[in-house]
């Protein structure tokens, strides 16, 4: 059984006229969309101990700020009302007072020290990932997340699964619009989970508000953080560092399940990966490869090279009529597998299976106006992979 690929493809071309008209009508006359708005005014309910501490610290600060606001604004309003010239008030001439200056310098310092103490404790705790129960490696990519269960040799990519038709206002938006993925990160409750993060291209940031966890993923470097969730549930977050056009479209979904369910989930995943390996071990017809390749293309390539293969030159070259695509299959495969350093073309070898890569290369060579007529089999990709 094949794992489901994501179906998102942000389109860099303007929407078609019909979509534009629909959008304009939507814009002008409003819609039932506001029924989903929840007008939340505070941090989300905390799902971890750290998030709870952050929530409480924020509440404390708010109360202190409210108190200071009253101390500042009440005298101000009094002055503005009672000391008006139009009410006949005559100005006094005083213009300094050393004791007051010392007072309103020293008191804020003391208040700040009072805030700094609980904050310091939380800072130290947020950085303490010792004695963790499991480790998950996270790689941020443009524009998806890759998760790897380090101790279990389990790795997959998680992409946005909201249909393009919802983004383009053609179909109604579901309640988890932009916050849903094809393959969530599944974790056991009650375990201290250490995260090691990096990125493959630009800086991303992994953030789940309910956990109180946000960590930049810096390419070439390792960053660490941790969390522990006790309540089972689905927790959603988003990328929190501008990473290009897909920044708003690479959400994070964490499913916290009981430890037993977690173990059975891992077993399911492993058999799925084995099936995928098997699928990559045989040969396919042109029609099978092109059919599967179209889906892989939509999920991974269309974002830059466009659904119609026209690309967005000069940054994203066209594939329709491309010299590289028309040339030897080996060169074309090499480019897809290894990417092109110095450009935005990623290396898809580490990200996709042999079958996926063979399919998408075959698709590109035999779609739009390209009629090269040859196929690439998963075995060729496997051979290339062995060289690395």
């Amino acid at each position: 059984m094949m794992p489901k690929e994501g179906t998102w493809e942000p389109d860099l071309q303007p929407p078609r006229v019909a979509q534009r008209a629909a959008a304009l009508a939507y814009l002008l006359f409003g819609h039932a969309g506001t029924s989903h708005a929840d007008y939340a005014i505070n941090l989300p309910p905390p799902a971890t101990g750290i998030a709870r501490q952050i929530y409480d610290l924020h509440t404390l600060i708010l109360w202190i700020c409210a108190a200071i606001l009253i101390v500042v604004f009440v005298p101000m309003v009094i002055a503005l009302v009672r000391h008006r010239r139009s009410a006949g008030h005559v100005a006094h001439r005083f213009h300094d007072n050393l004791r007051l200056e010392i007072l309103w310098t020293a008191v804020p310092v003391l208040i700040l020290v009072g805030m700094a103490y609980p904050a310091t404790k939380t800072v130290i705790e947020m950085k303490d990932w010792s004695a963790s129960d499991m480790t998950i490696k996270i790689v941020g990519r443009q524009w998806k997340w890759e998760y790897e269960y380090v101790d279990d040799d389990l790795r997959f990519i998680s992409t946005l699964s909201t249909p393009r038709s919802e983004i383009d206002n053609v179909s109604a938006k579901n309640p988890n619009y932009l916050l849903e993925v094809d393959r969530p990160l599944v974790i056991p409750t009650g375990a201290k989970i250490k995260l090691i993060l990096t990125a493959s291209d630009v800086i991303h940031a992994w953030w789940i508000p309910a956990f109180g966890v946000k960590q930049d993923a810096v390419p070439g470097f390792i960053r660490e953080t941790w969390f522990r969730v006790d309540e089972p549930g689905t927790y959603r977050g988003q990328c929190a560092e501008l990473c290009g056009v897909g920044h708003g479209f690479m959400p994070i979904v964490v499913e916290a399940v009981s430890p037993e369910r977690f173990e059975s989930w891992k077993t399911e995943q492993r058999s799925q990966m084995a099936a995928l390996k098997e699928a990559s071990a045989r040969e396919y017809t042109m029609a099978e490869l092109v059919g599967h390749g179209e889906k892989v293309y939509a999920a991974n390539c269309a974002v830059c090279h466009q659904a119609n293969g026209a690309g967005v030159p000069p940054a994203f070259p066209p594939l329709d009529g491309s010299k590289l695509v028309a040339g030897p299959a080996g060169d074309h495969l090499n480019r897809v597998f290894n990417g092109r350093s110095g450009t935005a073309m990623q290396a898809f070898g580490p990200q996709l299976s042999d079958f996926d890569i063979a399919a998408v290369v075959t698709f590109e060579r035999n779609s739009w106006s390209n009629r090269i007529g040859d196929v690439v089999q998963p075995a060729q990709v496997a051979a290339l992979r062995k060289q690395h």
């Binding site: 490696k137 090691i196 990096t198 070439g220 470097f221 390792i222």
Partner: protein
Amino acid sequence: MMSTNDPVYYLPPPSRWPIVGSVALLTLATGFILYLAKSAAGPWIMLAGCLILARMLFGWFGNVVQESNAGRFDGQVDRSFRWGMVWFIFSEVMFFAGFFGALFYIRNIAVPGLADADLIWPGYPGGWPTAGPGLKESFSPMPAWGIPALNTVILLSSGATVTWAHWGLLAGRRWQIKLGLALTILLGAIFLVLQAYEYIHAEFTIRTGVYGATFFMLTGFHGVHVTLGALMLVVILGRVFAGHFTPRQHFAFEAVSWYWHFVDVVWLMLFVFVYWL
């Protein structure tokens, strides 16, 4: 009515040099952009921009020299020039400080961080100098105790010669100013030639990881400043030959000599932190 015998703060009349300068920089920038975009016209437009800029500098400074020679600048204007030069040099110090800060961060925080990131760069030991974990080239860094040490002596000497020239100016000995300035310029030129030699024979380039990047950025900008300083010294020497400057009034000379000393101090920092340690 004002008496023309009263001292005045000179206010220059409307001037076309600023707009010429803006046109020059816009032209230079456009040419550079075209060059980066691989257009053949780029370098030519850059050249045009440089020529317009040179015209502006000659015209503007020429005006200032004329005004100075006509006696329009009193003590207060002189103080303005001094303050201006001081804060200009301070801004240049901050420019170099940024690059030194980058060097410090790379050596003490970034490279150790990469060495720790075993999962991504297995076996990368860190240490300095380094071209980074991903580039497969080995290289030998620039040794401090060859030409760079010689260059230190050269620049320090040039600081002494320009000071000696200044003493000549204060004492009214024109030959001393001329000889001192000429020696300073000569030493500066030798410095630049030796740096060029080092650059050509270096066993690494600006692309050699972060060692090459920081080395050439820091020493390169320093070289640009030495060149500018030397050119300014030539202009001053020319003005000496033209009979400008008196023992009591010679701010342009002082400004350029301050600049030269600043260039010298930056070199000392480079020598210690880029070449030696």
